[in-house]
Structures are given as structure tokens and as C-alpha cells.
């Protein structure tokens, strides 16, 4: 290995940044791949069951947005598969045989999802209503299973299992133990709930803005209510799940937990730090609740919490302040979303209506962005908290990173490209929505989405004629 290559190998920061930004970008689109179909199908179910035109209209439009987001997600997902090899050949060369199995399963679910997104998106007009509804079901199922497969691969890096090493080479692999490693149940449940929350709150947020602007028709109320309810149901489950996972990490990856909670030395009566910056062994600007960390870990102030002094400095994660503050941010937002959902639940319970006060709608409008921030913060905690290991206590990141030069260049290119892709994934639905609000029916008809059979080939008959009735002025702008 040349000297330059050696410097890069021990300084994997560009590679880590590239992986982090690619993952951080893809995960948002992946959330829509996992959960958007369920949100859309709920609206469709209401539409078919109760003959609710507003719900059906929402479902149709959401499915078009879904097509755009899945298309971009397919690209950013392909990038990640490449990067596993391009950036971490040391990991794939040694452990590809083990970590490959969950990824292979994910491939199947991705395939199924792609097929049925096509059926669902293009079956609106010709399939019988319930047959169309059922055609969406495989997207929901394979979305969840696919997410579980990919997250299981990440879990394996936290709790490696299911392989035998001899002389640094894998000699035996047990795929089931790889898939169902100790971290899998916790991480997969956490991520699937997160996907539903991110999708639900983001979609609800769009309609919350509409409601705030005074568009309070049934279309906007449903557009807000359906995704908000789905995300709101997940919120308390997520808070519970988070609590369980934190305890699991305290036992399974104590050094990561120590970084999350600023536990410098192994101790009983460990305080719980809220906020604060860690500099030279001291926490500044933080509030500590005495012994509360011990209580959270073991339900008693006398619980011993393992500190990062339990391992030599070379095995401790860097940037503890980043890890701790990300953790606090995630937990804080989790409780904020829970409170928001509880408030609406309370109101619905007694009044059977949506809250229309700006005190509720303004926080709801930003709830989606907050959910994204919480999810990203969570990934920062788990990924940075695992450092310096790429496979916990088995393989160092510096042993896995590519010796190839040029990662700095690819990092810069990826950042530029993802900026463009972000504009695409936010801009396209915005353009669509503007057309929906202002445009005529003819324009909407001409609208094309990225994939699926083309209109020229498969539509011998024209669109259904509009029903005659009051307000049949389909030519003008409609204040929906």
C-alpha cells in the first residue's frame, strides 16, 4: 500500500461523509417507499367504502406523487448498493458473505414493490375498485419487509452474528442468525415506525398549511386527518420503543450508550443530562437530573451504568457532543410529536372534529420536518455512536475503507447531485399540486409520471365523461 493510500485508509472521513449523506438522503425517500402506499390505501378504502369522492381524489393524487418519489428512491438506493463496495471494500471483501443475505432478500421485496407500484398506479381507471385496492397491498407488505431486511443488515453491523472466522476469513455462514441478530427486532421496529411517522407527518403537514390558509373543505380535512392519524398512532408506540431500545443499547453497546448520555466513568446514580456540550471532561450548559439515567437503564438509582472509560480511548466514539445532542433532539421531537397526536386524539374523543386552532396547525405543519430531523438524528446516534467500529468490536472503519484515491471528488459530486435530486423530489410534487389547484382537467389528464404503461398504448377509450350536475364548469380554476 502506498503512503498516500495509507493516509486515506487511516483517515476515512470523506468516505464516511459520503456514505452518511447518501444514506441520510435515501432514507427520507425510503420512508415514502415503506409507508406512503398504506396512507394512500387508507384514503382509497374510505373513498370506496363510503363513496367519498374527496378521499378517492386524494388517493389518486397521492399515488402520482408516490410514483415520483419511488423513482428517485430507486436511483438513490442503487447509489447506496454501489457505495457499499466503492467505499467499504474492506468490509465487503471480508464480510460480504454474511451481510449479503439480508440485502438479497431486500432485492426481492424491491422487485415486488416495483411491479405492484406499476399495477396500482396504472390500474385506477380499469380495475374494479376493490381489485385496485388489493393491488396496493403487496406494496405495503413488501415495503415493510424490505425495510426490515435492509435494517437487519445495519443491525448486523451493531450485533454481528451467524458466521465463523478462522485466520481472518469467513469459513461458515448461518444466514438466519445473520438476519435475526440481537439488534434486528429493535432496529427494524424502530425504523418501520419512523417511516410511518415521517411519511404521515410530512403529508399531513402539507394539508395543515392548506387548512391554515383557510382551505377548510373536506378534501383538505381528510388530506390532513388521514396521514396525521396514521402517524399519530405510531407516535406513542415509537416513544415506548425508543425507551426499550435505549435500555437494550445500554447492555448491548454500552460505549455507544455512554456517548449518548455523557457517562464518562462507570458509576451508580448516573445523572441524566439534558442538552449540554462536552469539553475536556466537563459538560457545559446542560441540565442534569440526578440518578435518572440509572433509573432509566435499570429502574433503580443504584443501577450501574457503564461509562466510556471501560474501553481504551482508541475504541471510543468521536464527537460525543454530536451523539448526545442528536439523541436529545430525537427524544425531544419524539415527545413533541406524541404530545401533538395526544392533543388531537383528546379533541377527537370529545368533539369528533379536527383541531383548527393555529396553536395546533402551525406545529402540525412543521411536524413532518421535525420527524425527518428526529430520524436523521437517530441515524447519527447509531452510526457515529458505533465508531470507530464498522462491525462492532470486529472490524474498524479504517480497515474497511477503500484505499482508492478520489473519494473527496466523489463526495463533492454526490453532494451536488443530491442537491439536484432534492430539488426534483420536492419540486415535482409542488408543480403537480399547483397544477391541481389552478389547472384544468385537461392539463391534469396530460400529466405524466415517471414509469408505467403509456397512455398512447393502453387507452383505446377516452377518460370517463364528467357527470352533469351543479357546478359542471370544469374549465375554470377550482378552489379545491
Amino acid at each position: 500500500m502506498g503512503a498516500a493510500a495509507h493516509v486515506l485508509a487511516v483517515n476515512p472521513v470523506p468516505a464516511r461523509s459520503q456514505m452518511g449523506s447518501s444514506l441520510g438522503f435515501h432514507i427520507i425517500l425510503a420512508c415514502f417507499g415503506v409507508a406512503f402506499a398504506a396512507v394512500t390505501m387508507t384514503a382509497e378504502w374510505m373513498g370506496i367504502r363510503h363513496g367519498d369522492a374527496a378521499a378517492l381524489l386524494l388517493a389518486r393524487r397521492w399515488s402520482k406523487v408516490m410514483a415520483v418519489l419511488v423513482a428517485v428512491g430507486a436511483v438513490s438506493g442503487t447509489v447506496l448498493s454501489y457505495e457499499m463496495g466503492l467505499l467499504w471494500p474492506g468490509l465487503m471483501g471480508r464480510f460480504g458473505a454474511a451481510i449479503g443475505f439480508p440485502f438479497s432478500l431486500e432485492g426481492i421485496f424491491f422487485f415486488l414493490e416495483a411491479i405492484f407500484v406499476g399495477v396500482y398506479l396504472y390500474g385506477w381507471d380499469r380495475l374494479p375498485p376493490w381489485a385496485h385496492w388489493w393491488s396496493g397491498m403487496p406494496i405495503v407488505v413488501s415495503g415493510v419487509l424490505g425495510a426490515m431486511s435492509v435494517v437487519a443488515a445495519n443491525s448486523w453491523m451493531n450485533s454481528p452474528a451467524g458466521y465463523t472466522l478462522s485466520h481472518g476469513k469467513i469459513t461458515n455462514v448461518d444466514p438466519w442468525s445473520v438476519f435475526f441478530n440481537a439488534s434486528t427486532p429493535y432496529e427494524t421496529a424502530h425504523m418501520v415506525l419512523a417511516a410511518y411517522m415521517v411519511t404521515g407527518f410530512l403529508v399531513a403537514g402539507v394539508y395543515a398549511v392548506g387548512l391554515l390558509r383557510g382551505r377548510r373543505d373536506r378534501y383538505h380535512r381528510l388530506g390532513f386527518g388521514v396521514p396525521f392519524t396514521i402517524a399519530g398512532v405510531c407516535a406513542p408506540l415509537q416513544v415506548m420503543m425508543g425507551d426499550i431500545i435505549a435500555r437494550f443499547i445500554a447492555h448491548n453497546q454500552p460505549v455507544k450508550f455512554a456517548a449518548m448520555e455523557y457517562v464518562t466513568t462507570t458509576t451508580r446514580d448516573a445523572p441524566e443530562w439534558m442538552g449540554g456540550i462536552f469539553i475536556n471532561g466537563k459538560v457545559y450548559f446542560g441540565a442534569a437530573i440526578p440518578a435518572f439515567d440509572s433509573i432509566l437503564v435499570g429502574f433503580s438509582p443504584h443501577t450501574k451504568v457503564i461509562g466510556w472509560d471501560s474501553v481504551p480511548p482508541s475504541q471510543r466514539p468521536p464527537l460525543v457532543t454530536l451523539i448526545h445532542l442528536s439523541f436529545d433532539l430525537m427524544v425531544g421531537i419524539g415527545f413533541f410529536l406524541f404530545a401533538l397526536a395526544a392533543w388531537q386524539a383528546w379533541w377527537w374523543w370529545f368533539h369528533r372534529r379536527l383541531l383548527m386552532t393555529p396553536w395546533f396547525l402551525v406545529p402540525s405543519a412543521v411536524s413532518g420536518v421535525a420527524a425527518v430531523a428526529a430520524m436523521e438524528a437517530g441515524w447519527v446516534v447509531t452510526e457515529v455512536g458505533r465508531q470507530p467500529w464498522i462491525v462492532y468490536r470486529v472490524l474498524l472503519v479504517s480497515q474497511a475503507v477503500t484505499p482508492s484515491s478520489g473519494v473527496t471528488v466523489t463526495l463533492a459530486v454526490i453532494l451536488i447531485l443530491y442537491a439536484i435530486l432534492t430539488v426534483v423530489s420536492i419540486g415535482v410534487p409542488m408543480v403537480m399540486s399547483r397544477r391541481w389547484r389552478q389547472g384544468t382537467a385537461a392539463e391534469e389528464e396530460a400529466e405524466q409520471v415517471p414509469y408505467g404503461p403509456s397512455p398512447a398504448r393502453f387507452s383505446p377509450a377516452g377518460p370517463p365523461a364528467p357527470p352533469a350536475g351543479p357546478g359542471a364548469s370544469s374549465g375554470g380554476p377550482e378552489p379545491l
Binding site: 502506498g2 378517492l56 381524489l57 389518486r60 415520483v68 430507486a74 436511483v75 438513490s76 466503492l86 471494500p89 465487503m92 471483501g93 460480504g96 458473505a97 449479503g100 443475505f101 440485502f103 438479497s104 432478500l105 432485492g107 426481492i108 422487485f111 415486488l112 416495483a114 411491479i115 406499476g118 399495477v119 396504472y122 390500474g123 385506477w124 380499469r126 461458515n172 455462514v173 444466514p175 373543505d217 373536506r218 429502574f299 443504584h302 443501577t303 374523543w349 368533539h351 477503500t402 447531485l417 415535482v428 408543480v431 382537467a441 389528464e445 415517471p450 414509469y451 408505467g452 404503461p453 403509456s454 397512455p455 398504448r457 393502453f458 387507452s459 377518460p463 370517463p464 364528467p466 357546478g471
Partner: protein, 393 residues
């Protein structure tokens, strides 16, 4: 040490998936290339529309092939995968760049409103279609010539800039254009565009001749740069090479005779591609990198290989019915672009917009009280359990 049967089986699967990607992905990239070559916005409007309409339905599935190739490679042949990804970092990154640009251009061009913007996104899409197959070809060329070190210390520029690798890159581009043009002839026929049928038939012939010439050149070059592969291509793999050549000539013949049989033409094109890819696989046997990394030392433990075999079976079992359904629905014209929502828009609007929604019937008080009681009891029990002395340490 001879390779295990599991390793051979998974290698065969990998070759089949590569062949599928070369065929479908190749047609996809080729569409982009013809889009690039279609001329001015006015002159190229008709062929561009045909390309767009026929690429659109398959675009997503083609990514899945590529992801399968990557995953199969790293799971079943980890050392080879790691070595290729390290030594060929540059061409692989460039092919990835092409994929991302294509995706971005593709997702946006349909919603781009102004013509200028459409031209820009279209150009990005088309240029990216050229980059990706070229560098993928260069990667394969580097592997075939055995220029990828088993333990590379970094980028290996020489591996993918050899004449063979560059020639293979051009060969891939020409082959993509060829396969794509053949499919586009049939797409034009199906839609009843006679002028486009001729248009793409001419281009398919030209691309076919070019592909043949490049293939011949690469083949001749291999005799010096990859003697092991060359010997096997002219030996045990010769029948496959012959089949590929025959199928290729067959396609050109059918085009020349204007006998556009939808099945035969497709099958012949598919055979031409599949035969040459399998010929390449057979010629490399039993090496992953001729002649430095044998299959036996470069493959994963049996457990991982069997798992990949099962996953492939599962994929066929799950995905095949899905595809069958998709195909069936398409044939019965059950899948159409969702039409206008006029009916729904009107129906949804019939209801007057009111600030608060009409209250639905509230849940009876007894139900509410019972639920609250049950929840309270559960909560109290949970808290008691948590705080009970047995849980203390």
C-alpha cells in the same frame, strides 16, 4: 482445488442476471443513445416520443437487475467484488454518475414545463445513457484481461485504460444501441408508426454492423491481451460464440427482409446477447479473474452460497407471478394512465366547504368510561410491575 457445485451454480445465476441486465438495461440505455442522436427538437420529436413511451414501463425493473448483480457479487464472491470496487473505483463511479443523472433527468423531464427545461433534462438523460454502458464495458474489459489485482492498493488506472477495456466500452455502447433499435422497430410496428419502423430498422442495421465490427476487433485483441480467455472462446465456448453470431446475423437478415416478427425478432436479439454473455462466463471458468483468482478461492462459504440459491428461487417464485399479473393486465388493457379526476373533483366539490366538519355520532359514554378504566388499570399495573422490588438490582 476445483470449485464447489454451489459456487458454480451461483456463478451461473450471476451470469444469467448479467445477461438479463445486458438485454433489458442495454435496451434502456440504447433508447437514451438514440434519443441523443435524434437531432433537433423538431426533427427528433417523433422518435423521441416512441423511445420515451417504450422505456417508461421497464425503467424501474432495470435498476433491480443491477442491484441484484451487485448483491450477488458481494455475497457470493466477496474478494473479487472488493478487488473490482477498489481497483476500478474511477470507471465504476463514472457509471454510477450516469445512473444518477439518468434518474434525475428522467424523473424531471416529464414534469418540466418549459421546452428549454425539457431539452436540458432530456440532454442530461441522453448523455448519461452513453456514459454508463461505456464504463461498465471498460470494467468488464478490465476483468476479462485479468488486469484487476487480487489485492489492489488503490485505483488501478492501467486496468481499465488498456485497448481491450476501451474497445469493450465502445462495444457495449454499440450493442446497447443495436438491441434498443431492434426493440424500437417492434414498438413502432405495434403502434402503427410505419415511418418510425423504417427509421429504427435502418439504425438497427447500422448499429448491428458496427457492433459486429467492434466485437471482431475486441476478439482479435483478446488473443494478445487475454490469452486464457481467447483460447477458451475459440475452444470450449466456441459454440456459444457461434450461436451469438448466427442470431445476430439472423436479426440483420430479418430487418433486411422487413420481416418484423414480434416474437422471432425479440428472441433472436435476446439469444445474441445471452449467448455472448454466457460464452464470456464459460471462457473465464474456473477463474473469477483469469488467471489470478480462481472461483474456488474467491467464493463465499457454502452457507452463503446456498442462501443466495434459495433467494433466487424465492425471487422467481414471488416475482414471476407478479410479472405475470402485470403482463396479463397490460394485455387486457386494464392498466392505463389515470385519466382526469374531473368526476371526482366535481363530486368532492358538491359538499359545501364548512369551517368545522359535521360531528359524527359520538361513542356512547359507557364505552368511553370502560375503555378509560381498562387503560388506567393496565397503566397502574405496568407502573407497579416496573417499580416492584423484584426488578431492582
Amino acid at each position: 482445488m476445483s470449485p464447489s457445485p454451489e459456487a458454480i451454480a451461483v456463478a451461473a445465476i450471476l451470469i444469467m442476471v448479467i445477461a438479463a441486465y445486458a438485454l433489458f438495461g442495454g435496451a434502456d440505455f440504447g433508447g437514451g443513445i438514440w434519443d441523443l442522436l435524434a437531432g433537433s427538437a423538431q426533427r427528433g420529436a417523433a422518435p423521441r416520443r416512441l423511445i420515451d413511451e417504450s422505456i417508461t414501463p421497464v425503467w424501474e425493473a432495470n435498476h433491480v437487475w443491477l442491484v441484484f448483480i451487485l448483491v450477488l457479487a458481494w455475497t457470493a464472491f466477496p474478494p473479487a467484488f472488493a478487488a473490482i470496487m477498489t481497483a476500478l473505483f474511477v470507471p465504476l463511479s463514472l457509471s454510477l454518475l450516469g445512473i444518477v443523472l439518468r434518474g434525475a433527468g428522467f424523473a424531471f423531464r416529464h414534469t418540466a414545463e418549459r421546452l428549454r427545461m425539457q431539452q436540458l433534462t432530456g440532454a442530461v438523460f441522453a448523455a448519461a445513457s452513453l456514459i454508463t454502458p461505456f464504463f461498465m464495458g471498460a470494467v468488464i474489459g478490465a476483468v476479462v484481461t485479468g488486469q484487476v489485482p487480487v489485492h489492489p492498493g488503490g485505483n488501478t488506472l492501467a486496468a481499465w485504460t488498456s485497448p481491450t477495456a476501451i474497445l469493450t466500452g465502445f462495444l457495449f455502447v454499440a450493442a446497447c444501441a443495436y438491441v434498443s433499435a431492434v426493440f424500437l422497430v417492434l414498438e413502432a410496428r405495434q403502434r402503427g408508426h410505419q415511418d418510425l419502423e423504417r427509421y429504427f430498422s435502418l439504425r438497427a442495421t447500422a448499429a448491428g454492423v458496427l457492433t459486429g465490427a467492434l466485437a471482431g476487433g475486441t476478439f482479435a485483441d483478446l488473443s494478445a491481451s487475454a490469452p486464457y480467455v481467447y483460447a477458451r472462446l475459440t475452444g470450449i465456448a466456441l459454440p456459444l460464440v457461434a450461436v451469438s453470431i448466427a442470431a445476430g446475423i439472423g436479426v440483420l437478415g430479418m430487418l433486411w427482409l422487413r420481416w418484423y416478427h414480434p416474437l422471432f425478432l425479440r428472441v433472436a436479439a435476446a439469444i445474441a446477447v445471452a449467448a455472448v454473455v454466457s460464452g464470456w462466463g464459460l471462457a473465464q471458468y474456473p477463474y473469477l479473474f483469469p488467471t489470478s483468482l480462481p472461483l474456488a478461492t474467491g467464493s463465499a462459504p457454502t452457507g452463503a452460497l446456498v442462501a443466495e440459491f434459495v433467494v433466487t428461487g424465492l425471487a422467481v417464485l414471488l416475482v414471476a407471478p407478479g410479472f405475470a399479473l402485470l403482463y396479463l393486465l397490460q394485455q387486457r388493457s386494464m392498466l392505463t394512465e389515470a385519466g382526469s379526476d374531473t368526476g371526482l373533483r366535481l363530486a368532492a366539490q358538491l359538499e359545501p366547504a364548512v369551517p368545522g366538519q359535521p360531528a359524527a355520532a359520538p361513542v356512547p359514554a359507557t364505552t368511553r368510561i370502560t375503555t378509560a378504566l381498562v387503560l388506567a388499570i393496565v397503566a397502574i399495573r405496568a407502573i407497579r410491575d416496573v417499580l416492584s422490588p423484584s426488578h431492582r438490582r
